[in-house]
Amino acid sequence: MDFPFFIAKKAEGNMAKIARVKAKADSKMKLRKSTPKAKEVSRFKKPRPAKVTPVPKEKKDDLSKQEVTIGAVKFSHAKSMLMQDSFQRELPSGYGRDTMVLAVRDPWWLYTYWEVKDSTWNKFKAELRGEFSKAKRVLRVYDVSNVAFNGFNANKFFDIEVREDALSWYIDIAVPGRSWCVDLGLLLPDGRFITILRSNIVETPFDGPSWITDEEWMIPDEMFMRLYGMGFGLGKTSPAGGVWRKGAVSSPGIASMASPVRKQPSRSFWLEVNCELIVYGATEPDAKVTVQDKPISLRRDGTFTLRFALPDGTQVIPVKAVSKDGMDKRKITPIVIRETK
């Protein structure tokens, strides 16, 4: 097995390119109306620069199904009941504050949302006058790995132009294992950049093992690679999935789980027909009644109803009633034949 350990490093050179691709995709977005749609574009264009270890991905898609499946059946219901008495109150669209939050989605993507107060916009409008309307609204994404970021000492940065009504964005940062900070700002025609909001700093995880080793806990590369694969369930540390398994416990069912969420298989057209039989009657309320020799209970008025799934064949159904004092007896025996063609 071959594990590309140092992908992260190789990928860095692609940064500028990514930013360009981004800009292109963004210009297309102008046609779109609502921000969430715009985000979609940003999310799905995915110029993935370097090959990423396929290993964890595949296993994730497979195993995280546990959670999805359990979730699906745990939270299963025919139709969600609306809470009628809680009238449909809505959350405010904003809270009247200047804020910008940056969050890590995964090693390759960040998410940021922001809110700018009207008064803050007005302040910039007043300061910049005519330049304000010519300025582009831009997210400046700083790589601040291993620096105490002061606004000017980022390792590098790239810009993403965003629509004026955008309030959030997914950012493809392409390089795992780095620290990031984002400014929402105005890019003036003369190239000046004016920061309106600055986000918190986040660090993205690696998408592969660290190249840093521990002197005290050294391990040969080759052995670590083996362990690494095993951690993802790819190892052959047990015979699972091998020939042994098929021989010892031949369970044809295993192959049936094409997907753990076994939706009702899709069918074009179908018909199901079943028959049930209702046997009902009445006698004195205090009588003892048996049906096929099994005692049944009567309603207070002496009536009874029995319901049976009716398979093909003949059912002989003796119904016997005995009066309370045992003196009177009656027996009626319906015979029912069901046939399916």
Partner: protein, 526 residues
């Protein structure tokens, strides 16, 4: 000879769903189904093991929301009503299927199960938490805690006070229920973000679990991969990682056990199959067909045609699969023992509801597995994290990597186009809660009540379940409503406290409705 350890972890959680304002509330069924199909069967397994003198060690999360629901009088009353109706239905079914012996036997099986569920429920005074506590006190079960409302912590990192509140409220709730502090925690969705171990440490927690890449992608490289715990750099909190090989065996779409053709088919329920007027009293009051829990068919094959379930075949299969799982762990332990030069620990966590609710034969499989491990071999030993650590105190120090056990292994399940809108509201509420806790350090009376309720509402809004349901994209109305209602309640409380204008009647109303964590202290949010 003993070659390695197996640490089985069952993660038990449900979001807090309790609607006293409605006579019947569909989503409350999540709890009732879980009690009948998962929690009672597990308790019955533990009881049989203890009665037969079988030693075992098992780790189990009971999330604070789950515990709160299990301990709630109204929900207990409603569960009793629910199980009584199922018993009535099973009795009717026994009669209805009289001419179909295969089905009659199955309806008798369900009747037995429902009676046993009711009996177990009543034996523990209607509160199953007591059953789990009993097995913990006997030293068989290691109960760990979780985020107070299962908030997904990596996306809360920007408001550390909220991360801290999720942990602190959970820990003090655990203490009030189990009479001692929890030693470990299942991070909600297994979501770890570097630095959160500091908050765990402050709360007195000494270990947690991550998915495999949490350790494997940590720095420096973990010498033993996922087969030994590591200590977090700077805090010394131990981190145990999931072994995917054993997870896969149970869960994989190719090799997983639950798909065996002899096992019970989840999707064929009499709630959907039977004649409408007959089944109507047992489905949703509005007449919507739902699952009843009585399912007569086995998986049979890939097609639509399903054959009746045969208990004996399924049982034999569960025994086979338990043997297979154990055999693979023995070989795995042997191999790793040679490779590592030390005894590996194999951590196998599963959603508790996999056992019984989804995989009907799961509890049976677990029982077979535990018995086989106890009597049929001596290569692997069941263990818990604290037990392992006391036997193996020296471990490598690393910084684990951000990770979760969700779809794609990070935060995408809870952060995508369908659910990302919640975070600006959640974070704003978190900041406001921090502001309130700072501004009113010694609140009394009505203000104190409002502040405590504000924290309850915030925590309830943070449940990862809402974002999860939004992410799956089906039946999202309820999740949206819950997110919004708790946030709106929170905002109104915030305004009320700040403006000294708390509406006492309204406050009493939401205290009654959202009654989780009666002893909560708003000062946990700092």
């Amino acid at each position: 000879m003993h070659k390695g350890y197996l640490c089985l972890v069952l993660h038990g959680h449900l979001p807090y769903v309790r609607h006293p304002e409605h006579e019947d509330f569909l989503e409350e069924d999540w709890l009732y189904e879980a009690i009948t199909e998962t929690y009672v069967p597990l308790i019955r397994v533990f009881e049989r093991l203890v009665n037969d003198g079988v030693d075992f060690r098992l780790t189990m999360t009971l999330s604070p929301t789950l515990i709160s629901m299990l301990s709630d009088g109204l929900l207990q009353e409603r569960y009793l009503k629910h199980i009584n109706r199922l018993i009535e239905l099973a009795n009717k079914e026994k009669e209805r299927t009289r001419w179909q012996p295969q089905f009659e036997a199955l309806s008798a099986m369900y009747l037995d199960e429902f009676l046993s569920a009711r009996d177990t429920f009543l034996r523990y005074g209607r509160n199953l938490t007591g059953a789990f506590k009993k097995f913990q006190d006997l030293g068989k079960l290691e109960i760990i805690t979780c985020g107070a409302t299962h908030g997904y912590l990596p996306l809360m990192d920007v408001c550390k006070e909220s991360v801290s509140a999720q942990i602190k409220v959970a820990v003090s709730h655990y203490q009030s229920v189990f009479g001692r502090k929890p030693r470990g925690i299942w991070l909600p969705e297994c979501g770890y973000y570097p630095g959160h171990d500091k908050i765990l440490k402050e709360a007195g927690l000494s270990y947690f679990f991550t998915d495999s890449h949490g350790t494997l992608h940590g720095k420096p490289r973990p010498k033993y991969g996922v087969f030994a715990p590591v200590y977090c750099k700077g805090t010394g909190v131990a981190c145990f990682s999931r072994d995917l090989e054993s997870s896969k065996q149970v869960w994989s779409s190719i090799e997983g056990y639950p798909g065996d053709y002899n096992y019970r088919e989840f999707y064929r329920d009499i709630g959907f199959d039977l004649e409408y007027d007959y089944i109507k009293p047992y489905i949703h009051p509005d007449g919507i067909r739902i699952n009843t829990g009585i399912k007569y068919y086995r998986i049979t094959g890939t097609g639509n045609h399903k054959e009746p379930y045969v208990s004996r075949w399924a049982r034999e299969k569960a025994a086979d699969h338990a043997g297979n799982f154990m055999f693979n762990r023995q070989r795995q332990a042997e191999y790793l023992y040679e490779l590592l030069g030390k005894k590996p620990i194999i951590v196998s966590p599963y959603d508790a509801e996999l056992f019984g609710h989804w995989w009907y034969e799961g509890p049976m499989w677990l029982e077979f597995l535990i018995r086989k491990i106890a009597f049929d071999q001596d290569e692997i030993k069941l263990t818990t994290a604290p037990q392992y650590l006391s036997e193996n105190p020296r471990n490598q120090v690393i910084t684990p990597s951000m990770s979760s056990w969700g779809w794609k292994g990070y935060s995408e399940m809870w952060l995508q186009g369908s659910n990302d809108w919640i975070y600006r509201h959640l974070h704003n509420a978190s900041d406001r809660m921090t502001e309130l806790a700072k501004a009113y350090p010694g609140a009394e009376g009505l203000t104190r009540r409002a502040l405590n309720q504000a924290l309850r509402e915030l925590l309830l809004a943070q449940s990862s379940d809402w974002a999860f349901i939004l992410g799956t994209g089906t039946h999202t109305e309820y999740a949206i409503r819950r997110t919004k209602d708790h946030l709106l309640n929170f905002n109104r409380l915030y305004e009320g406290v700040k403006g000294n204008s708390i509406d006492q009647n309204w406050l009493s109303g939401i205290e009654y409705k959202d009654n989780i964590f009666p002893d909560i202290d708003y000062k946990a949010h700092q």
